[in-house]
């Protein structure tokens, strides 16, 4: 068989759509950084910082692409254990920010073990599910579920509901993707209301409950917790068909819109580019997700395919929950929109995930299977 360089098989569609989204995000961030004051206007440097983070992300992506993804199988368990230890340490030596203990300070920088848990559950999940192609039986399901729920329990206690929900959704979707026995699936579906009931009464803090109530009726508290939702809906809605134009949005430029460079960045976009721009952005996200799907379908082995599926679900739920929150069909949860929201570590993590997909795509032609 003739040997071609690995680059031949790279998923160029994914590269293109990821970069396009990043550039749209960068442009939107430029607008969201500006604010008009009585004396003139100011421009904070979020968009410049984001560009630097983007370059760091691209470098990380290249680094992730450089080795065979199958080596990750070996790393999965150790990484998971380290993450668990760090999660255990958070209540003991963690620092409290906004009433939640999430961070561990390591001298100059601090890390957020719950973010690491996302990656480690995703890696270990792919490793466990890749053992065979059979739909999961009771034993396999219990093992995978236990693997996921241990870190989730720690994270809910911190509290960091957003990350916990993300982990449950990613792992759950990966299990569904892999296949599961019909009886277990039915029982799980029936168990969901019970779990939600227990969560509502015992697993949630008052502010989290308040957010969900506010989401159900934002007008009940227009200046308190409903303010975010109302202002973001006003911003998006006032864009109408064509939008108010780049850097012309009054809701964002006059600072009515809170969190406009992070969680509510897409509201700025909606206000300035209107229905036409939003439809284009949604379509762009769809193409981006479908290009991940291509690699899911093309992957050489089960582990690669599961990795890509995990990445797909990660992006899918982040996009769905964030945009859903901004347009008012989801409660306010602190989850950023990939490539559009400002965030250093999030950008790097996003590019690492894309690197994993590209890694799988590049190596789909290799024939030497040492494993399985």
């Amino acid at each position: 068989m003739e040997k071609k360089p690995l680059v031949t098989y790279i998923n160029w569609g994914l590269v293109f759509f990821a970069l396009a989204l990043f550039l749209v995000g960068e442009m939107n961030l430029y607008s969201a950084s500006g604010a008009r004051l009585g004396t003139g206007s100011t421009l904070s440097n979020f968009y410049q910082k984001q560009a630097v983070w983007g370059l760091c992300g691209l470098a990380s992506m290249l680094a992730v692409m450089s080795f065979d993804y199958r080596k990750l199988k070996a790393v999965a368990w150790p990484f998971y254990i380290v993450t668990l230890v760090l999660l255990l340490l958070v209540p003991l030596i963690g620092t409290t920010v906004y009433g939640a203990k999430r961070w561990i300070s390591l001298g100059a920088m601090s890390i957020q073990p719950s973010e690491l848990a996302k990656i480690s559950v995703f890696l270990l999940g792919a490793r466990l599910l890749a053992k065979d192609g059979e739909p999961l039986g009771w034993k396999g399901f219990a093992g995978a579920a236990a693997m996921g729920l241990v870190p989730v329990a720690f994270i809910v206690k911190q509290p960091d509901l957003g990350t916990a929900i993300m982990i449950v959704l990613i792992l759950g979707c990966m299990i569904l993707f892999h296949g599961i026995k019909g009886s277990i699936f039915k029982i799980c579906v029936l168990a969901v209301p019970a779990v939600l009931y227990v969560m509502w009464n015992f697993g949630m803090h008052d502010y989290q409950r308040q957010r969900i109530l506010t989401f159900l009726d934002p007008s009940a508290d227009p200046l308190g917790s409903g303010y975010h939702i109302l202002q973001s809906r006003i911003a998006i809605g006032s864009g109408q068909l064509w939008g108010k134009g780049f850097t012309e949005g009054t809701q964002s430029q006059l600072r009515f819109l809170p969190e406009r460079h992070s969680d509510f960045a897409v509201a700025v976009f909606g206000e300035e580019w209107g229905f036409v721009g939003c439809t284009c952005l949604v379509t762009l996200f769809c193409f981006f997700l479908l290009s991940i799907f291509t690699t899911v379908a093309q992957a050489k082995d089960r582990f690669g395919s599961l990795l890509c599926a995990g990445v797909f679900f990660y992006f899918f739920w982040e996009i769905f929950i964030n945009m859903g929150m901004v347009v008012g069909i989801m409660p306010v949860v602190g989850i950023p929109l990939p490539f559009i929201s400002y965030g250093g570590s999030a950008t790097i993590v996003n590019f690492i995930f894309i690197g994993i997909v590209l890694n799988v795509a590049m190596r789909r032609s290799l024939t030497n299977f040492d494993y399985d």
Binding site: M1, Y9, A35, R36, L37, G38, G133, E134, P135, C173, L176, F177, G179, K181, G182, R233, I234, A235, I236, G237, S238, G239, Q240, L241, T250, Q251, L254, R255, F256, G270, E271, G274, F275, C278, T279, V282, T283, F285, C286, L289, L290, F293, V296, A297, Q298, A299, K300, D301, R302, S305, A309, F316, M323, G324, V327, I329, R364, S365, T367, F369
Partner: protein, 663 residues
């Protein structure tokens, strides 16, 4: 390839079989794309269900968000656009200067006083206690008072809006403070407008006063805002809309925290109308002096135009007290004063007109087939059942024709003739003469007075009209009530050919006819002539004079029934003294009506007052020759503090530049 297929097909769970047919074909279609894998026998095939799930997710995602964006941006877009607009545009009204009020010769009666105040903007102040202490040191206001004021207004004023600390600063003090203001950021001198009434008591009832609008007024008038001044009484109240002018409008762009980004002047504020009253300050003062300390009223009116040259009511009050916000003590003093200084006796008090009424009755008789030569013999009274209704002159007047009945004010003549004409003819005639309804003067709360009739009595007392009622009504006693102004308007009508005029307070207002006396010219002339005779040797001889043509009729209205007389009367029980007069000299005619509350006899008490008024009018040639109106002095505002003056000049320079106006 075939082995691979078997491998994935065999262990499929039952629920997966539902999807078996479709995805299998799909996978085969995909096959050629992955050419490189062709030769490998154990090629991996992802689970079909999983692939469908992923594609389904993307489809759901697309549909959800496109439809949601359509709903928000297209369906509800216009509504949200309006909300966004309201978010960042505020409208602010600019108050217009209130029109000033002058007397007929241009002397200021109601002025806009410029007051300087010191205000602070909380956002800009670094050290609040030190700033308050400095304010106290500059102004001499005790520190506790400044702090108290600050505490009170803190919650009402936003942190970036000026909070007024001290009002009414001296101009020289303002200049000094301004020179030191640079060291105290957040403090600023503000210019306030206050209303002042330099004539105080003299014009209190005519002008009324302004005060901050109350909640009821705010609810009624959308143009008013909290803290606006509105007229509360007098002409300030009735002509409030004209005096107020029209507010200007600023569109102000604000950001989320409410800070102003810029403003656009949408409407220029329009200065309120400057009113010139018909009243002459000097005549007004002369009338007040003529009344002395009595409680009562004096009206000076021009019969041909209806213009009021004086409108005095005593006792009066200082309306500046109200404009500045009256203290509880002052208010109690005014309210509990037994002589009711707040009452405008010209229009708000009604009295029995007494013999002045005979001027109207005589006209009524003449119009109802009574000849002026018909005689009535007065024996000092008339029998009514067991009682005798007396004439004021118990000894009787003897034979009286109409002229003499007016000159001598014989009551019996009117009893007889009223009985002949009947109340059903008298009541409508009196109403047509303006009695029993307001004159329409531009002052609030004018009383109608009362002209009784048959229907009125049965409605009010459920009793029939008696002969005694007619007798009483014929001499202006009993139920009959009139205001001094109604009498004045009627006397004017006698002189001007029968036009009942609206008494004009504002000089520039046109002559307004509100009705006509239903009488022939000869009737009116007869009565005017009778008044002339009365003033020259009759009961009104107090006003008679050589240098002018005069006419008059006195009245003494009983407050207490004759029967209870005999003991000494207290002030409250004494008769009201009336005199209704006219005087003509050179080319000017005036009607003067004097009413002295509980004064006693009309000729003795009211007559000399009217005489003094005519003395003032007719000894001064200015008032007997029609003169051209004095030119009004141009408005020169009070001085602005230097820094503000400079800012104003800069602003004007900018405006000139913008509109490219010549200097």
């Amino acid at each position: 390839m075939t082995t691979d297929k078997k491998k994935t097909d065999a262990p499929r769970p039952p629920w997966k079989r539902l999807f078996a047919r479709g995805p299998a074909k799909e996978a085969e279609k995909d096959e050629p794309k992955i050419r490189i894998k062709k030769e490998t026998t154990d090629r991996y095939q992802p689970p079909k269900w999983g692939l469908w799930m992923i594609q389904g997710f993307v489809l759901v995602f697309f549909c959800t968000f496109v439809s949601r964006f359509w709903f928000l941006q297209m369906h509800l877009g216009a509504d949200f656009a309006r909300q966004a607009q309201e978010n960042h545009w505020r409208q602010e009204r600019i108050s217009a200067p209130r029109g000033r009020i002058f007397d007929v010769k241009g002397r200021v009666l109601a002025d806009n006083r410029t007051a300087y105040g010191l205000s602070l903007i909380r956002d800009d102040i670094k050290d609040m206690p030190a700033t308050l202490a400095q304010v106290s040191e500059w102004t001499g206001v005790p520190l506790e008072q400044v702090q108290e004021r600050f505490r009170q207004s803190k919650n009402k004023v936003k942190s970036f809006e000026p909070l007024l600390l001290v009002t009414d600063l001296d101009y020289s003090l303002v200049v000094r403070i301004e020179s030191e203001l640079y060291a105290w950021p957040g403090l600023e001198v503000v210019v306030l407008t206050k209303r002042s009434y330099p004539e105080q008591n003299l014009f209190a009832h005519i002008l009324g006063y302004v005060a901050e609008a109350n909640e009821a007024e705010l609810a009624k008038d959308p143009e008013l805002a909290m803290g606006d001044l509105v007229g509360k009484s007098g002409i300030e109240y009735t002509l409030d809309k004209r005096l107020r002018g029209r507010k200007g409008l600023y569109d102000i762009e604000v950001d989320a925290s409410g800070h102003m980004l810029g403003q656009v002047l949408k409407e220029e504020p329009q200065h309120g109308e400057e009113l010139r009253l018909a009243i002459d300050r000097d005549i007004q003062q002369a009338c007040l002096n003529a009344l002395g300390g009595e409680a009562g009223s004096v009206i000076v009116m021009e019969p041909d135009t209806g213009k009021l040259r004086a409108l005095v009511t005593t006792p009066s009050y200082d309306n500046n007290l109200f404009a500045a916000g009256i203290s509880q003590r002052d208010w109690d003093a005014l309210r509990n004063n037994p002589r009711f200084p707040l009452q405008n006796r010209v229009i708000q008090s009604t009295y029995p007109p007494g013999s002045v009424w005979k001027l109207m009755m005589a006209a009524c008789f003449l119009e109802n087939h009574v000849s002026p030569h018909d005689y009535v013999s007065c024996a000092g009274g008339i029998r009514l059942g067991k009682n005798v209704i007396h004439c004021w002159k118990r000894s009787g007047h003897g034979g009286q024709d109409m002229l003499h009945s007016i000159v001598n004010s014989c009551d019996v003549y009117y009893y007889r003739m009223a009985e002949r004409v009947g109340i059903d003819a008298i009541a409508p005639f009196a109403k047509a003469c303006g009695f029993g309804r307001p004159t329409g003067i531009d002052l609030p709360h004018e009383k109608s007075g009362l002209m009784p009739s048959r229907e009125w009595k049965s409605r009010r007392f459920k009793r029939g009209w008696g002969r005694g009622d007619t007798y009483n009504a014929s001499i202006g006693q009993g139920y009959v009530l009139a205001t001094p102004l109604q009498v004045a308007v009627y006397v004017c009508a006698l002189l001007n050919g029968g036009d009942l005029l609206k008494p004009q307070l504002v000089d520039t207002e046109p002559r307004t006819v509100t009705g006509r006396v239903p009488a022939k010219r000869s009737t009116l002339e007869f009565i005017v002539n009778a008044m002339r005779r009365t003033a020259n040797g009759g009961t009104a001889k107090a006003v008679g004079r050589r240098d002018a043509d005069m006419g008059g009729k006195t009245g003494t209205a009983q407050v207490v029934r004759l029967r209870s007389r005999g003991r000494a009367l207290s002030w409250k029980e004494k008769d009201h003294a009336w005199i209704a007069t006219w005087g003509h000299k050179n080319d000017k005619t005036y009607v003067v009506v004097v009413m002295v509350e509980h004064g006693g006899g009309g000729g003795k008490v009211a007559g000399p007052v009217a005489r003094k008024v005519y003395d003032y009018l007719f000894r001064n040639p200015e008032y007997t020759v029609s003169a051209k109106a004095q030119p009004e002095e141009p408005f020169i505002g009070p001085p602005l503090p230097p820094a503000m003056e400079r800012a104003r000049q800069r602003e004007q320079e900018k405006l000139r530049h913008r509109h490219q106006l010549p200097r």
